[in-house]
Amino acid sequence: MADLNGIRIGVYVCHCGKNIGGTVRCDEVAEYARQLPGVALATDSLYTCSEPGQEQIKHDIREHQLNRVVVASCTPRLHEPTFRAACESAGLNPYLLEMANIREHCSWVHLHDKDAATEKAKDLVAMAVGRAAKLMPQFEVTVPVARKAMVIGGGVAGIQAALDMADAGYQVYLVERTGSIGGRMAQIDKTFPTMDCSICILAPKMSEVGRHPNIELLTLSEVQEVQGHIGNFKVKVLKKARYVTKECTACGDCIKASPQHAPDEFNAGLSIRRAIYIPFAQAVPSTFLVDMDRCLNNSGIVACDRCFQACSHKCIDFAANDEVLDLDVGTIVVATGVDVYDPTALTELGYGKFPNVITTLEFERLINAGGPSGGELIRPSDRRRPQRVAFLQCIGSRSKRSNPYCSNVCCMNTVKDALLIKEHWPDTEIYVFYIDIRAFGKGFEDLFQRARREGVTFVRGIPGEIIEDIKTGDLTLLGENTLLGKHYRHRMDMVILSVGIKPHKDADKIQRLLNLATDTDGFYMEAHPKLRPVDTTTGGVFLAGAAEGPKDIKDSVTQASAAASRANILMSRGEVKIPAITSRIDPKKCTACGLCARVCPYHAIEGSKEQGFYRVIEAACQGCGACVPECRFGALDQTHFTEDQIVSQINAALASDPHDKILAFACNWCSYAGADFAGVSRIQYPHNVRIIRTMCSARVSPSWIEKAFIMGAGAVLVSGCHPADCHYNNANQNTARRVERFWKRMEKQGINKDRLRLAWVSAAEGAQFAKVIKEMEAGLKKLTSQQIQEAAEKLQKSLTKKSEAT
């Protein structure tokens, strides 16, 4: 269509192979786009993101003097940077690009309804064109990146990440919660598939961390608070007192003197430690520490000084205090690791009651030469060497009763453990009860076959019950061999439960501090599962190790190096561009009421009544837009998510058949990503939903909801991150407040308030998003057009009344 005040929009409809083209008739969509106001050119191509596709856009910008570009393809969360770069290289401001998500939000979720999907794609393109016409060029500010990094967690992943960054020349703070770095790998005896001694290969790395000039090791420390943004994080770390000074030579004279004991965590409770102890022999730092939970001096007075008396160097200091350290870092690597599953809940296995049922972690300590039995395999009940040993797989994994996911490492760990027993005591009979043996990695199958050759018996079918003989402590396993279809009954001397792994219990604390997303299993979510596997949705924060998903040592180290390298890229460049999505205040309209400053989660709006105006501190503004709907005078607006732009999207979305449509507002970080996830998972849901993206759900203005209903929208959905998971410091509590106020208004005017729905959908909850849409669709079916019309008239009347009053 012809020009619209000189605006020339180019529309590119992508087939994405069969991903979009298989469902949506892309040529028809492009044909439709040509009729839209301001569109100078519309075309469809097989892969717009490919080199020829991008070249086409660049060529058209120059040739046809395009000044706006709309790409209808996948989610902007995937390829917006790609197309922005293409625009920029053709001399067009990157903020003049708009994307219509016709893959994740259309073709993939309406696979079996080509007509409806095509109609929806047309609407989505019309919405994008509407918004594109209102886009303005924006210029990003660059902020410096502090050349310092923090690594949270001192397991093998944290150690590797810290070493890689420190070797690159950057200052690294390694924050570890316990008294020594080393993590789970330090507890393990041997590693699979090479049967290397675990601590022998880890200890040199640990001591390298200890003496590296660029690494500051903070043990017994916990992250308390994280403020700031990519490049400039301000972190508060609580460093708990160790009560033993650096002069400690780890001679161990104090141990015998200490009258207080506790189970040794490092040996999985199989040995005793004292209140003053060293976590393990190879600990770094190689310094004792006092467990104040067990020490007699824990109420603030020195009741007992026996360890002090025994210490020849006098390096015990009960006057030491906890400190809070303030760190300024540019990047953060999260490597919080995993806990093991506690099988006590599975009562049929008798863990916690039968002494001869142990976990694989306990086994690792038993078979380790430095462990409580000096490397002898013994039964806990009578200290005899077991002749018949059973391994039970998938304990706490792949089950609805415990964790639904596969823990990745247990199969090979069991094969390795079985071989270790065979190596030392070849006459031991070993049975492995399994569901599936997953030997997928390099060298894994060889190891598995070796175990079979050595005479380890693999039985398919986990025992349903374990019975203990009280006199002898022997165990009888009852179950079904699912390959033979026969019941079995095996008498064993010892049972080893191959327990799964789960996210560390403190993982949710770190998640909240850093605004990370977690999947349904509780592991941290990567920014993109394929292409950005170590990035998080929070800029400058990277993931390493099993905190992101169950991993063996090799994968953890690989990912740690990847995370360190991603952080190094940021730090070596030394500056980063901040998206131009900040809020702005029009000083002419501002009445200095200060309401916006009150809702800003970052205290980025300053000013006072006396001063007569308020202003946005651009460097501190994170671009949530929570302040904009708060202004009653229309003085505020958010760059790139302006009132005009969103309203034109609403107009386009509801241009035809508004009564049948659901208008959904989704926040960029959780709900929009959740809708994307529904697409990736091909979860089908009704096609009458039209999604509008905002950065935060708090940007959603009640006036938009009002406008949608006046235009006759059947239903409106406002969705954001779960409370406390908000990407913007709980800005979404404003969303809830505003929606509740609108509900009250609807109630007062006699409008069915079910038509406005507030839903919290996280990035991992694609199914939840689909469920919400299905429920809303069911509610919509019960409405008559007359009801919708009446409600629209009521709202229109009150709106005109209000505007007359002002």
């Binding site: 999985a268 824990n298 013994i378």
Partner: protein, 112 residues
């Protein structure tokens, strides 16, 4: 994970064990020893002494006394003292006590 079994090296460990002696009629019932005993071995007796105070008494499971001697140090009336007895082995009960205390997050066992 909760620790529940008796550690394998339990018999190799002994812990000092003390006997608490209370000079019944010298006590003025200030309660310092009860308040400050780090292992909570003492409680206020229901009975009166000659002066009409409630002196402390050793709680029934007083196996916990490790003879730190704090009670005799802070008693203003020199009415309590401890003697070192034979060192005692760690039993399953001791371990359970520790784990229960850990899990209960007893106020006394939290960080100062």
């Amino acid at each position: 994970m909760k620790f529940w079994r008796l550690p394998l090296d339990a018999e190799a460990h002994t812990i000092p064990h003390g006997k608490v002696n209370i000079i019944w009629n010298r006590c003025k019932g200030c309660g310092f020893c009860i308040e400050f005993c780090p292992n909570s071995c003492l409680k206020e007796s229901k009975h009166f002494n000659a002066k009409g105070y409630h002196p402390p008494e050793v709680v029934l499971q007083a196996e916990d006394c490790v003879e730190c001697g704090l009670c005799s140090l802070i008693c203003p009336e020199f009415a309590i003292f401890t003697e070192l007895k034979e060192a005692k082995e760690i039993t399953e009960e001791d371990i359970q006590k520790v784990t229960i205390r850990y899990s209960r997050k007893d106020k006394r066992y939290q960080k100062r």
